[in-house]
């Protein structure tokens, strides 16, 4: 009695459709992917305690009141005018040894000022080419 050796059955996973499956997954991830959507205006807050002496000529004061009016160096200005004035002032003060504008723009707003208005003014300041922007604390009322 000889036991016949069984013929080995063909065991294989069908791989023809792997590409299709992978494609399907690929398309799913392509559709759901959101590439970095974080946008905004970067700022650096002043550190606690550090106070530096600055030549007052290099500071431009910007005040925003609660109704959104802007005071620039003691004079009320419109948005369109403000940009030109700032560009002029930045160029007038020139650049320092590191190549960035010398002018520091200090923005001070009322506690009741709308955030949107503040961003609009900050935007104008950024667009004018000034890189040194200081956010002054509003006075406590």
């Amino acid at each position: 009695m000889f036991v016949d050796q069984k013929k080995k059955r063909d065991v294989e996973i069908p791989t023809a459709s792997t590409a299709d499956i992978a494609f399907l997954l690929l398309i799913f991830f392509l559709v759901t992917t959101t590439m970095s959507t974080d946008k905004g205006i970067p700022m650096i807050l002043p550190e606690r305690g550090g106070e530096a002496k600055i030549n007052p000529k290099n500071i431009a004061q910007l005040l925003i009141n609660e109704s959104g009016l802007v005071l620039f160096d003691g004079r009320q200005v419109e948005d369109m005018e403000l940009k030109d004035l700032l560009v002029e002032r930045v160029q007038e003060r020139g650049v320092d040894t590191e190549g960035s504008p010398r002018l520091i723009i200090s923005i001070k707003s009322d506690r009741a000022t709308e955030y949107d208005r503040y961003i609009t003014v900050l935007d104008i300041v950024k667009e004018s080419g000034a890189t040194k922007i200081s956010i002054a604390e509003p006075d406590k009322d």
Partner: protein, 140 residues
């Protein structure tokens, strides 16, 4: 003399196709960030000087709406407990010293709230911040 030339085989080898597709798949799987929004609905202000933030992994968020509702890490912080914020961000900063705090604040909020938040961040020494804004189109 007029022997027909043997036609060369015209087939693109497809045996490595699944591997190529899988490679692409893994790339997208790794880079995908499924969008997760915090509960507070806000409208961010628009600005021309809006920049893209590249250092995504260093970002932490503060959400605040116009009614003074503040949310950090999906937890709402009552206005009275605003002073706990500096501790939260001090912890975050100790885990990641290149932390950037993105302030997602509604455009109708007032500056008092922004200032209070900024003061908390200064207390925590988290001085690198970002005002989340939309890109303003030049047509406006």
């Amino acid at each position: 003399m007029f022997q027909k030339k043997q036609k060369p085989k015209q087939e693109i080898p497809t045996s490595s196709l699944p591997d190529v597709i899988f490679l692409l798949l893994f790339f997208f799987m790794v880079t995908t960030v499924i969008k997760r929004d915090s509960g507070i609905p806000i409208i961010t202000p628009a600005a021309y000087s809006t920049k893209k933030i590249e250092a995504r992994r260093h970002l932490a968020y503060i959400w605040a709406d116009d009614k003074g509702k503040i949310s950090v890490d999906d937890a709402v912080i009552p206005l009275g407990k605003l002073s706990t914020l500096s501790n939260v961000f001090r912890d975050k900063l100790s885990n990641n010293n290149r932390l950037i705090v993105s302030m997602k604040v509604d455009k109708r909020a007032n500056m008092g709230l922004i200032t209070d938040l900024q003061e908390q961040l200064r207390d925590a020494n988290a001085i690198r911040i970002n005002y989340a804004t939309r890109t303003k189109s030049s047509k406006q």
